[in-house]
Amino acid sequence: MKEASEVVIEVRNLDLSYDDYEVMHNLNFKISKGDIFIIMGTSGCGKSTLLKSLIGLRPPAKGDVLYGEKNFWREDASGQKDLMRRFGVLYQSGALWSSLTLGENVALSLELYSNLSASQIQEVVELKLALVGLSGYSKFYPSEISGGMRKRAGLARAIALDPDIVFFDEPSAGLDPINARMLDDLILKLRDTLGATFVVVTHELASIFAIGNNSVFLDANSKTIVAEGSPKDLLANSKNSNVIGFLTRGQKQGGQ
């Protein structure tokens, strides 16, 4: 792996809240190009809220999210849209549009944002579906396929425009170990081939260790980041009992 080079996302002094209720405060971290960056933490600690602030669905209470030089929440609507076009998102349930076939799901962003003709779009769609192991399924509707396939189709949709950054919200949630492992492999391979940066929100330990090369741990008690680094390093070296407890499924809770 190359040394961490170009920073693609920088989070500065970010505060997250629901009305008056503070979810997280003073979050600071950087994500480098080519990273598979894990945002981990216990259920309900604010991982998904943080993700929403990163992908432009929920303004933070305070602080900045920088994509390269651009400060996302300071951009005007069209600037934000341009930034959003640079990333793909795989939602927890796949979030495929149920009235469209898998092919149409993948094609939509290509129709909106590329200059390709209909037949060329079809070729790209076939490629993207083939990349996630769904070649031949483009005429199927989301309701006709299994949950694991829906997730993979969601991934094909997320990478349709060759994004610089792909966000995942709990990619292996609801998948069997084989399918979860397959998705992890796919993420690794896509990182190697597409050269994109992956930001993964998850609490699946197997995934965290299998794919993550950098991470932050959000702590529900202190409501901020308490550990940062590669998951394996954290397991070996972290002094924080919450982090160790999390990474060892509570078997080494330390003094607590």
């Binding site: 390709l116 037949s119 996630v132 192991g133 070649s135 399924y137 309701s143």
Partner: protein, 375 residues
Amino acid sequence: MPSEKIIFDYSIPKTLQIKLTGEWLMSSGIPAISEFTSQFSGHSDVTQIVFDTSKISKWDSGLVSFLFGLIKECQRKNIKIERKGLPEGVLKLLDLIEKIGEKNKPQETKPEPFLQRLGGRALQLKESLLSLLGFLGEITVSFNRVIAGKAYFRFNDFMLIVQRCGADALGLVSLISVLVGIILAFIGAIQLQIFGAQIYIADIVGIAMVRVMGAVMTGIIMSGRTGASFAAELGIMQTNEEIDALKTLGVDPVEFLVVPRILALVVMLPLLTLYADFMGILGGYIISAGVLGINPVEYLNHTQSAVKLSNLWIGLIHGFVFGIIIAISGCLRGMNCERSANGVGEATTSAVVTSITSIVVATAIITFICQVLGV
């Protein structure tokens, strides 16, 4: 422009060398596979394709999708592809596709022939009729259990539904009914003024509102408002597996979800009808007294003598029947909803359409019966 990116070289016998140059980006457009096949059609002796991609400056999925299509095309034609000259990233992606593709092949589905589809539709119609009958049966059984006190009935939930389909609808019912009263008064006035008999506007508005219009307007408002909301609510519950959760808990979903809704609407619709009747008469009164110059006291007296108790009962029976119709069509569509966003939309639409159609049909039937009975 795209054709400049691709050069065909047939200098080596039986081999086609494809040279790719420049930018191969989705944003700048990629050549279509058909361009390749038409170029290639005159050279049937070619058995192998090699690539030279050293002149490609930038590439993304555009290039990969072109090559992917080309490889599939060549496999069909039994032409060997030498991949060595391709960029390393492309090779990796193509490998990935091949590895992952082998175990995932969809089953072939054939389109049904016309007659089979037609037959299928007819059978579907029979199915849906049977499911309606089955649903009505379930409701009857559940009602029996509720009356016998054996059912799990949450009174608070019931009151909440009563509030939602009763009190919360008052504003809308008021507005529509007053306007209908006003419209009836104006339309009556057009003819009656000719004979100087404007006072009979009171009779027209009173009888029309109380006997049928109050109930029909309320029914239509409530199909759009409450019927649709029942269908959407139960549809989403079906999608979220909440109804399955009830079943596995041993709670009959019809008893738990449908019966309170029917009961609430059956109680509230006649009451709303009564309220709509008054509002309609009020609308007629405002126009007659304020605009058409009819003596207010005389108007009220005329209304009182014209509207018989039988009219009121007929109106209330309408309301009662409409309540049943709206609640059942809303709940039926919701319970049978397909588990998708589309399904919920269809369930809602079909609930409203079914209930409004049934309301009009029911009105016609009741009116005919009253005619025969001479009420």
